[in-house]
Symmetry: C2
Subunit: 198 residues, 2 copies
């Protein structure tokens, strides 16, 4: 005794979503067919449209519907600064700060050998080429301060240094409004080591 | 600064899945577009096919690709017994026990006024009609032993009793291999109250 084939197929297909196992996939399939057929139909269409029109920007590698994304195409940005981030969300967060007016490069991931993500998967060749366009004179590494983000930043900085490109890393330290009593000791130790003159 | 429109649309559509909020939807969309375009395409197709071919069995209300599902159409089942379950998974679990050879009715849910699920949403009119087909002489209520499942069973039993249909409820008690020391007190109390002569 099994579910009908088309339903089994749907359950199976839902498992391609990250973090969705057999039980959740079944729950999702039942829910969609029972309570939200409009939503399911919209999802199917949205997937198809996105697969068709969303590609990567040729310059910064973020998701874009145009060959060159609006940000790279804008003429009011500082072409001398190139900020490297892991994901498009990081780019959006940095843009929201209005603290950076340079260009970006989005890795679409981080070095993670255990997940099979090496230098090729995060397009480091494309980044090296991008950083040598003759305009960029500083690459700012804004990968996460996680183990993998740190490793990625270190790897990239070594690659760039051998090519004589100036490289920097975003600062680490106390967060805004942070209280010394409650901040974790790793952050506090770094804030102490990387203290600056005032 | 935002994601491209087709990507925003996809993120929005993924939120129709149960248990998926804005952050997971974004993660899923990035993942699909970046690492599993084939999976996304298969998912889109599977959704479309399932919406097209999967409907409800006219007799038992479970998901089926035929108007009458294979189980209802089989001629080796006991048409005098009708077992009411909440979800198709429950039907599959009961079938796997090989302990029941009667017919089923799947509510596709349970009474849950807080979620807006009343008697109409779980097709009780269809159930009453089904139970009065002239063949059924006992309705077995196999809804879950949760608060909502219990309420549903009680509600249905009242409906059926007024129509003179014999109704029973699956037994409650110690699980197979259960040790009195470790079983919860609610279960133990019920097992004591519903003890039977040996």
């Amino acid at each position: 005794m099994k579910n009908p084939p088309a339903l089994e197929q749907l359950i199976d297909s839902l498992r391609c979503l990250p973090g969705v196992g057999p039980k959740s996939a079944q729950r999702m399939a039942y829910y969609l067919l029972q309570r939200d057929r409009n939503g399911a139909s919209a999802l199917s269409a949205a997937l198809e449209t996105a697969l068709e029109v969303v590609d990567h920007c040729k310059l910064c590698n973020t998701f874009s519907e145009q060959p060159i994304c609006p940000l790279c195409a804008a003429d009011n940005r500082d072409k001398n600064l190139l900020c490297v981030v892991e994901m498009p969300t990081d780019l959006l967060m940095l843009e929201n700060t209005h603290a950076f007016m340079g260009m970006y490069f989005v890795l679409m991931g981080r070095l993670s050998p255990l997940d099979g993500i090496g230098p090729k998967e995060i397009h480091l060749d494309k980044l090296i080429k991008r950083a040598q366009d003759g305009l960029v004179n500083e690459v700012i590494l804004a990968t996460n301060y996680t183990v993998e983000g740190e490793a990625t930043a270190h790897y990239i900085s070594e690659l760039l240094k051998t090519r004589g490109i100036k490289t920097s890393r975003i600062a680490r330290g106390m967060p805004m409004g942070g209280e010394i009593e409650y901040v974790d000791s790793g952050t506090l130790a770094q804030a102490m080591m990387e203290r600056r003159n005032v």
